[in-house]
């Protein structure tokens, strides 16, 4: 069965189940829950269910959600977790949007969505998110809301409308057997490219990974990301982008194939790197370099690393729609997801291997010890080391302006 059909069938099934659950206490009124005693919320949620819509394209993630998280909810809280797999998160956002348009204000079919970036912006702009409840969750204490990369989702302030789940951060990679001193900052990289002609390239946007690389140069050209946060600013963009295109055109003759062509996808870049045609590679998920070595695509000597002037990280979140009728159960689910144990399990390489959305040094000592003991693949840079120099993502309007500008000023 295709993912889409499974998602549709899943939605239909959860709708049917939802109808039956109406005898349970309806917790659609969010205001009544905010600031409530946590035990009271857990009691309200008991015996209910929660419909979580999330991307369903990876078996290990599905298993973690259905078996591990679903098991905790069932055994400890008597809550049934309905995991509804999606191929594209926008599908769930569209359901909520459609319900709002149709006037379904407290009987919505979506209780929670795994989300970030543009979809979050749509939810917030459309008034589709339930906000202001995060302090009610006991495990909010584990979240570092002072970290701008947590408090802003692709540049949009979170404002208590969602809670973090996991983090990913950009990292570079090189083959230690071939390259001795890889460049460890954007200025060093630009020098290195000129000193090593033909050894570097980046995928052309709209490739996601290539666009992230260009944003690193853009941040450098703007003199730091601090100047770029917030709403799109044409004047700031013009200044920083002019400098960015200048830099990228200046290095172009020193790129792979003298910049006459660029890889069109990160997959192509991975091939070039694996075949030794280029000396550097990069990815938003450093764990993939370990997977590449294990699969035999890359030699054991491949190492990933961060930059001293920082690499871009993003956080992904869970959000509760304004019209969810099971808000108490959704809160319990969020609290479980944020718990030290659940985050520790999620970080295990054989479960998922993704970075926690919480601060691990705020967790109990035994969890911290277990987290520190997780055996990273030697080729994968430690998430803690990367996180020391983390840069936030920009708002979506900046991102598309940079991509369009690159196509017009560098590609041609």
């Amino acid at each position: 069965m295709t993912l889409k059909r499974r998602a549709l069938l899943g939605s239909a099934m959860s709708l049917a189940l939802f109808g039956a659950s109406q005898i349970q206490a309806d917790t659609a009124d969010g205001d009544a829950l905010i600031g409530q005693d946590w035990d009271a919320i857990v009691e309200m949620a008991r015996g209910g269910e929660v419909n979580w819509f999330l991307w369903g394209g990876a078996d290990n993630i599905n298993q973690y959600v259905s078996d591990y998280i679903g098991g905790i909810l069932r055994d400890e809280y008597g809550i049934t977790l309905n995991r509804v797999g999606l191929t594209d998160t926008a599908e769930a956002v569209n359901i909520v949007l459609g319900e709002k348009e149709a006037g379904v204000m407290d009987r919505g079919s979506v209780d929670m969505i795994w989300i970030n970036g543009e979809n979050f912006r749509t939810m917030k702009q459309g008034g589709l998110a339930w906000c202001g409840y995060t302090e009610t969750l006991p495990n909010t204490a584990l979240i570092n809301w002072d970290n701008p990369a947590i408090a802003n989702d692709f540049g949009v302030p979170v404002d208590g409308c969602e809670v973090p789940w996991s983090r990913a951060q950009f990292a570079f990679a090189y083959d230690a057997a071939v390259t001795e001193n890889p460049p460890r900052s954007i200025p060093e990289l630009l020098e290195w490219i000129k000193a090593n002609p033909g050894q570097f390239t980046y995928p052309a946007p709209p490739d996601f990974t290539g666009a992230v690389f260009i944003r690193h140069v853009f941040y450098h050209a703007a003199g730091g990301v601090e100047n770029l946060l917030g709403e799109f600013d044409q004047a700031k963009f013009d200044e920083a982008s002019a400098r960015t295109w200048e830099i990228l055109n200046e290095i172009e003759p020193y790129l792979w194939r003298a910049g006459a062509t660029y890889p069109t996808s990160v997959t192509q870049l991975n091939e070039l790197f694996a075949n030794g045609e280029v000396a550097l590679n990069f990815n938003y998920e450093p764990a993939q370099f370990g997977l590449g070595v294990m699969a035999g695509t890359y030699p054991d000597t491949v190492m990933s690393y961060g930059l001293s002037d920082g690499t871009i990280g993003n956080t992904n979140y869970t959000i509760i729609p304004f019209n969810s009728p099971n808000k108490a159960a959704a809160l319990v689910l969020q609290n479980v997801l944020l718990s030290a144990e659940a985050q520790l399990t999620k970080a295990q390489p054989d479960v998922w291997g993704t970075s926690p959305g919480i601060e691990m040094d705020r967790t109990p000592a035994d969890v911290q010890a277990a987290f520190a003991a997780i055996e990273r693949h030697p080729s994968v840079v430690s998430a803690a080391e990367l996180a020391e120099n983390a840069l936030p993502e920009l708002q979506a309007s900046w991102i598309s302006a940079i991509e369009q500008g690159w196509l017009a000023n560098v590609a041609q």
Partner: protein, 285 residues
């Protein structure tokens, strides 16, 4: 029930599929290309998307590239296919085996062929490695750029590899049906080998060559996967450009993507008519 009704009824399922899926899709695409999408509140059709597409230099360059790919692939494939068919219709030892090998890659999907081209001809591919072992090149970048290259050599190689047997099989069947009698008569009347081929055999097999070539041309003009896999980042083949516009996060690019798709369909139709007329006139004349 009259024969006519029977035929119509028997054809109905196939026609329904073609009518609904093909013309239905074309119609929806045409509507969207005209900025007509009532679902998101666009109810005033206009030609903005076409104006934007035709005034873009990128589109023109993509069109020239795509035309080059289709035209070159078709002409080379047809020429090699005719030459191969002329040899394969003779009787010789091992003909069955050669014939089988000749047609073998008809069963290989285009994508698999493209990956093969990548492994063989890329700058770190098998031939580059052989060249390195033989001391001809020192590093991958010394090997000529045959894939992701501005002249689309890799794409054309892939199409020729795949389409020669396709045209060849049709031409061979054609030649075998015609037999060698006409040529024998021409030769007995004093025609040279070339004259009997050029003025007797070629006009006879020409309808088959033509229809096969038209299929190849139309296919290569509208195909996405090969230029997506083997093409340079810029300029890109029209179908790749259209798909890129279709997946753009900016919804405003959607009508332009549809406009490009419609233009691809119209252009291939026009060029097929032109190709058919031009070659027919040349061969008969």
């Amino acid at each position: 029930m009259s024969d006519r009704i029977k035929i119509i009824l028997l054809l109905a399922p196939a026609m329904a599929v073609i009518g609904l899926l093909f013309f239905g899709g074309l119609l929806v695409g045409l509507m969207r290309s005209l900025n007509y999408m009532p679902v998101i509140g666009l109810t005033e059709p206009n030609l903005d998307a076409y104006v934007a597409v035709f005034s873009s230099r990128e589109f023109l360059r993509s069109f020239l590239l795509t035309f080059h790919i289709s035209f070159t692939s078709t002409v080379i494939s047809a020429a090699i296919a005719i030459a191969a068919a002329l040899l394969l219709r003779r009787t010789f030892v091992g003909r069955g085996v050669i014939n089988f090998l000749f047609q073998l890659n008809l069963t290989v999907p285009h994508i698999v062929g493209a990956i093969g081209i990548l492994y063989l001809f890329s700058q770190s591919g098998s031939f580059a490695r052989l060249g390195y072992a033989a001391g001809l090149i020192e590093r991958p970048s010394d090997f000529p750029a045959l894939v992701f290259d501005p002249y689309a050599i890799g794409i054309i190689l892939q199409y020729v590899w795949k389409e020669v047997p396709f045209i060849g099989v049709i031409v061979l069947a054609n030649m075998q049906a015609i037999g060698q009698d006409y040529e024998s008569v021409a030769r007995s009347l004093g025609a040279s080998k070339w004259q009997s081929f050029r003025h007797v055999l070629l006009p006879l097999i020409f309808p088959g060559v033509l229809s096969a070539s038209v299929m190849v041309f139309a296919f290569t003009f509208g195909a996405y996967e090969i230029p997506a896999l083997l093409g340079a980042s810029h300029p890109q083949a029209l179908p790749v450009l259209a798909y890129k516009a279709y997946t753009n996060v900016d919804l405003a690019a959607r009508p332009q993507a549809m406009a490009m798709a419609i233009i691809i369909a119209v252009l291939s139709a026009i060029m097929i008519v032109a190709y058919t007329r031009a070659t027919r006139a040349r061969i008969r004349g």
